[in-house]
């Protein structure tokens, strides 16, 4: 019976975080004097920069220097991009500005006040150009072109085919199609971006303190832009980051920008992004227009699907996009067993802000696309939406299951878990409630959404963006992997220090690692200290290092657990030597090594540790002094895409099923979430408190996209959601009544048995809520095909529907 693993241990991080004693970038004082940056940003969606005059700004007392577009051109290169299109994306605008909020200059001054005063005195002469914000419009031949040297706005286009979709559609009894629009939204972490940069002209080394969350594959991207070898770009991350959710993966352009400002001015520079900057120009998910088609037999069997996905990546595509399109590729069929799929994938440039990972990274789009379509299909066939799904789920006996797109679903039983969800929600009774409500003229709807929830992304998926012929060329360097590192050290008194390199953003990594290691060593959890800051100069790390794609509980935790096991093996060998027994006969329980069956022949964990450090000559032959190990955990199925564009894009696949019941006020259009049921398979649960917190957050994030948050632009590219009065994050007041259920199908792919859970409901909530609202409005003939759904929009739909009814169905 585990003592620590699986227990609702309170977070070790909480005392410091809840009392305001955390150490964030803004708390760091790494150098005696820091100068402060203010970034001048574009007020235009699209304009040519005719000239930049910094004279008056430079004359302000306290200003040290100003980084201009000309400096950026001279001192840096474009960031490498993950597509074949040669996009020239620099840390600032150079020839043109291409979205509102794009950096143009950086003022460095003694304090931020002076920097902002001086910023107002920079004179930029802009020649405004026509803008385009809609991705379909941007694909039109007559659309304004953002990058003239490319000549069009398509950053990436791939046609992917799996099985024989044309035959599947030819064979279908019914084809159901839908055009859908998914909104651009973010995660707005409490702590915005923060960077301190120093350049050492003697050795050419940049030192960067930032709240970067990884993946560290973006470290070489930054190094390339700065024209520096990787080992002269030092990244330091403090132990605390105030939320990331993927958004802080995309801060590398600002790391480069502040590094350049430090180099130009010759002083260390600190920049703390404010909320206006964050909303206008940090990162978000793409908005997507999708044309979805499903081929079905009359009995509801899905034969195949066609997905045309048009993702709006804003003004410059940047790594890891077009991951928005391809990160979910291995699970592109969701939990369903159909074999024939065509994906027409576009990433398109427009005059909107830039995009990147945002909790769910592509899955919130994908499952909105699939699950919304399936509800329409169920309606067309006269089937209950639950029944349609039931008829198409991959059976539990098929696990591990290889999807047509190359995903390897490692463990789970989707039909059994789905039935548990229906029980949890008491689905039959919900439908009865709905029937009563409808009979009384009320608008009551039930929505279902199911998702295979991918975690631990495989670096290889990004190369799906390249034509497969390119990937087959001689000399092509393939990409793959999902490795993570961890270090365990046992000191001379048997206390343990673990260093992790996951750059946690508040998830409780320190707590979880302490649980795993205390369990492994059989020692009190208080004896395990976990160090969660990061320094690329001294830590073992690799390209995949960091926290993203819900990878910690499987990747970082497994690496650290592996290191603990290796230290334990060494300690067992030492204990066996001291006890004059064979290592295989020695076991460790509750902090004591003893000979199997002879508990009196024992030596304590602490004593073994003491010997390893204080008396190395007493160690058995071949055993080195000291007790530390750094291990790497990789995943055997994290391989590069094959020549059929198949890729196991993630290493573990959980399952989420949700049922939402809503009631809509027929006069005001207000949507009340009456019930929210959420069933999860996240593999082995390491700490149920942390899992519950993640699910609550994920539900609210998904609900945000469904009902509240949108980065709204007008047709000329003006940004209309620039403050928290317009960009509305749901708060505790808006939280739905949530009922969570769990099943545990531990994964064989990680050492911990855990799968990811951090994204989970953020992938299903938009679809589940949309389906519930659509179900409520179905009696009026209303179809929901875009998000967010607001009271004003529902009211407009109701008004149109009533007008239709009044005129006998004529528009």
């Amino acid at each position: 019976m585990p003592k620590w693993i699986g227990q609702p241990i309170k977070r070790a991080e909480d005392p410091r975080l809840l009392t305001g004693q955390g150490t964030y970038v803004d708390d760091l004082r790494p150098l005696p004097v820091l100068y402060h940056a203010a970034i001048l940003r574009s007020p235009h969606a699209h304009a040519r920069i005719r000239s930049v005059n910094i004279e008056r700004a430079l004359a302000v007392p306290g200003v040290v220097g100003i980084l201009t577009p000309q400096d950026v051109l001279e001192m840096s290169d474009p960031f490498p991009v993950g597509v074949e299109t040669p996009v020239r994306y620099y840390a600032t605008a150079t020839d043109k500005v291409r979205f509102v909020g794009e950096p143009v200059c950086v003022v460095v001054a003694k304090d931020r006040y002076i920097a902002e005063d001086a910023r107002e005195l920079i004179e930029v002469d802009y020649e405004p150009l026509p803008a385009v914000v809609d991705p379909e419009r941007a694909m039109a031949p007559d659309a304004p072109v953002l990058h003239e040297d490319i000549g069009h706005n398509i950053a990436c286009h791939r046609s992917l085919r799996y099985g024989d979709p044309d035959a599947a559609f030819a064979e279908a009894d019914v084809v159901v199609s839908q055009r859908q629009v998914f909104p651009k939204y973010s995660s707005t972490p409490m702590e915005c971006y923060a960077v301190i940069a120093q350049f050492n002209p003697i050795n050419g080394e940049y030192t960067i303190w930032s709240n970067f969350q990884g993946p560290f594959s973006l470290h070489p991207v930054t190094a390339r832009a700065l024209r520096t070898p990787e080992n002269k770009l030092r990244f330091i991350v403090p132990p605390d980051i105030g939320g990331g959710f993927g958004i802080k993966s995309s801060m590398f352009p600002y790391i480069a920008l502040i590094a350049l400002a430090a180099r130009k001015t010759g002083v260390p520079v600190k920049w703390v992004e404010d909320r206006l900057e964050h909303l206008a120009a940090s990162s978000s998910n793409t908005d997507r227009v999708a044309y979805m088609e499903v081929a079905l037999k009359r009995d509801g069997t899905i034969l195949g699907m066609r997905q045309k996905l048009i993702d709006n990546v804003g003004a410059y595509i940047r790594a890891p996009d077009p991951g928005c399109l391809f990160r979910p590729l291995g699970n592109q069929v969701g939990p369903y067993r159909f074999q024939h799929l065509a994906v027409e994938a576009y990433a398109v440039h427009t005059n909107k802000s830039l995009t990147g990972p945002n909790r769910g990274y592509g899955c919130q789009h994908l499952y909105f696309n699939i699950e919304r379509l399936l509800d329409k299909a169920a309606d067309t066939l006269g089937l209950d939406p639950a029944e349609l799904r039931r008829r198409n789920l991959i059976p539990g006996s098929a696990m591990p299951y290889t999807t047509p797109t190359g995903g390897i679903y490692d463990a789970g039983d989707y039909p059994a878990t789905f039935e548990k969800l229906l029980e949890l929600a008491n689905y039959a009774r919900l439908r009865e409630e709905q029937a009563r409500a409808r009979a009384a003229g009320r608008l009551y709807g039930i929505g279902i959404a199911l998702a295979v929830d991918p975690s631990v992304s495989n670096m290889g998926y990004v190369t799906i963006a390249f034509d497969r012929k390119l990937r087959q060329r001689p000399g092509y360097q393939a990409k793959s992997g999902a490795a993570e590192t961890g270090t365990v050290m046992v000191d001379a008194r048997g206390n343990v220090t673990c260093t992790i390199n996951t750059c946690p953003e508040g998830q409780g990594h320190e707590t979880t690692v302490a649980q795993l290691v205390a369990e492994e060593f059989g020692i009190p959890i208080e004896n395990v200290r976990v160090v969660a800051d990061f320094d690329s100069n001294s830590r073992a790390w690799s390209i995949a290092t960091g926290t993203y794609s819900s990878r910690f509980a499987a990747a970082g935790a497994s690496a650290t657990l592996l290191a603990a096991r290796r230290v334990k093996e060494k300690m067992r060998a030492i204990a066996a030597h001291l006890l004059e027994a064979a290592p295989d006969d020695v076991v460790l329980e509750d902090g004591v090594f003893f000979v199997k069956g002879q508990p009196d022949r024992n030596v304590t964990f602490r004593r073994v540790a003491g010997v390893a450090h204080w008396n190395p000559n007493a160690l058995p032959p071949g055993i080195e002094p000291g007790l530390q190990n750094t291990s790497v955990w990789n995943f055997e199925h994290a391989v590069a895409p094959d020549d059929q564009d198949r890729v196991n894009s993630s290493q573990l696949y959980g399952f989420v099923g949700e049922i939402v019941a809503v009631e809509i006020d027929p006069e005001t259009g207000e949507i009340q979430l009456q019930h929210y049921y959420s069933m999860h398979d996240a593999g082995r649960i390491l700490n149920p408190l942390l899992v519950e917190g993640q699910i609550w957050g994920a539900v609210l994030h998904g609900m945000a996209g469904a009902m509240y948050e949108e980065m709204v632009y007008d047709e000329n590219g003006a940004f209309l959601a620039g403050t928290f009065m317009d960009y509305l994050c749901p708060t505790a007041m808006e939280a739905p009544p949530l009922t969570i259920g769990h099943v545990e199908y531990p994964t064989p792919a990680s050492l911990t048995g855990a799968k990811g859970v951090g994204e989970s409901s953020s992938e299903t909530a938009p679809a589940a809520i949309a389906n519930a609202v659509a179900d409520a409005l179905k009696p009026l003939g209303i179809e929901i095909t875009s998000l967010p759904i607001t009271p004003s929009k529902v009211w407009a739909l109701l008004r149109e529907a009533r007008a239709r009814q009044a005129t006998g169905g004529q528009p």
Binding site: R112, Y113, E116, D117, L720, P730, T731, S792, W795, A796
Partner: protein, 293 residues
């Protein structure tokens, strides 16, 4: 998000404050609870040369019941009024509206005078004052003058207050007889500015007809709107669903809402209709439940 430099005054008395305003006039902004002004300063949407911080003017921190009126000093925190027993027990219109005004943390700092003088037409309190037929008192070195809300509010964020004047008090006649009030609003989230809000106050005559009716709208135009057509319809009539529905239609006809990213103008106008009817219904229920005074 750092403000531009400004001169800072923190007078201890009203006279001192008015003297500073007389001197600096247009160049000065008054800092009360800071819940709207400080973000504007930080975003540099406002760059006043001088700030006059009136938080030390204890003489403007009061709630007084006098001659059948309730008078509230300008620096009174919104939370103080919200917790004032008379408001909690007998003035649900005011209590409901304050509950909808931001969050408790905001109301702990935000002042009655600051909110009213900021003149955001989407804010709740100006509509409440309109519904109650209240008035405002402005002071300058030349003396004091009362102002009806209809004279006070010009357009978005703009009042007839002279730059040398300070809003010192808001007051309204306490309702008499059987009365009930209600404030209903639609906002995207709890605590947001209203997409639309409606405050109503009903006083019933002994025969059960409407003796007085006050209806104020927020989020329905460039200023808080007094729904005079609906008020006139109600007075002298026996309250009921049909009457309330017609009052909603008339209130909506007086609204001049605009569209933004949260709601269309058409939606807002129709919600004035719906909320007016619902608020009247609730006010009537409360009047019926209240003891005759």
């Amino acid at each position: 998000m750092k403000p531009a430099a400004f001169d800072y005054y923190a007078p201890d008395t009203l006279d001192e404050a008015l003297a500073v305003l007389a001197e600096r006039g247009d160049a000065a902004k008054i800092l009360a609870g800071g819940q709207s002004l400080v973000p504007l300063l930080n975003m540099r949407l406002a760059k006043p040369e001088a700030l006059v911080d009136i938080n030390r003017l204890r003489e403007l921190d009061y709630i007084r019941e006098e001659n059948g009126w309730l008078a509230i000093g300008a620096i009174t925190r919104q939370r103080t009024l919200e917790r004032y027993p008379l408001v909690r027990q007998h003035l649900p219109l005011v209590a409901d509206a304050l509950h909808a005004l931001g969050h408790a943390q905001i109301r702990n700092r935000g002042t009655i005078g600051g909110n009213l003088a900021h003149a955001d037409p989407a804010s709740e309190l100006p509509a409440v004052l309109v519904a109650l037929g209240g008035e405002l008192v402005a002071a300058s070195v030349a003396g004091q003058r009362p102002l009806a809300p209809e004279e006070f509010y010009l357009t978005y964020l703009t009042t007839t207050l002279d730059p040398t004047e300070l809003l010192v008090e808001a007051r309204f006649r306490l309702p008499t007889g059987r009365h009930g009030g209600a404030f209903l609003e639609l906002s995207r989230r709890h605590g947001d500015y209203a997409m639309v809000g409606v405050g109503v106050q009903l006083e019933l005559a002994p025969d059960g007809t409407v003796a007085r009716a006050g209806i104020g709208l927020c989020g329905a135009g460039p200023v808080p709107i007094k729904a005079t057509e609906a008020e006139a319809l109600l007075v002298g009539e026996r309250p009921g669903e049909e009457l309330f529905a017609e009052a909603g239609v008339r209130a909506a006809a007086q609204a001049e809402p605009e569209s933004d990213i949260h709601a269309s103008a058409d939606y807002r106008r129709d919600m004035v209709r719906v909320l007016t009817r619902r608020a009247l219904r609730l006010a009537l229920q409360r009047a019926a439940a209240a003891d005759t005074q």
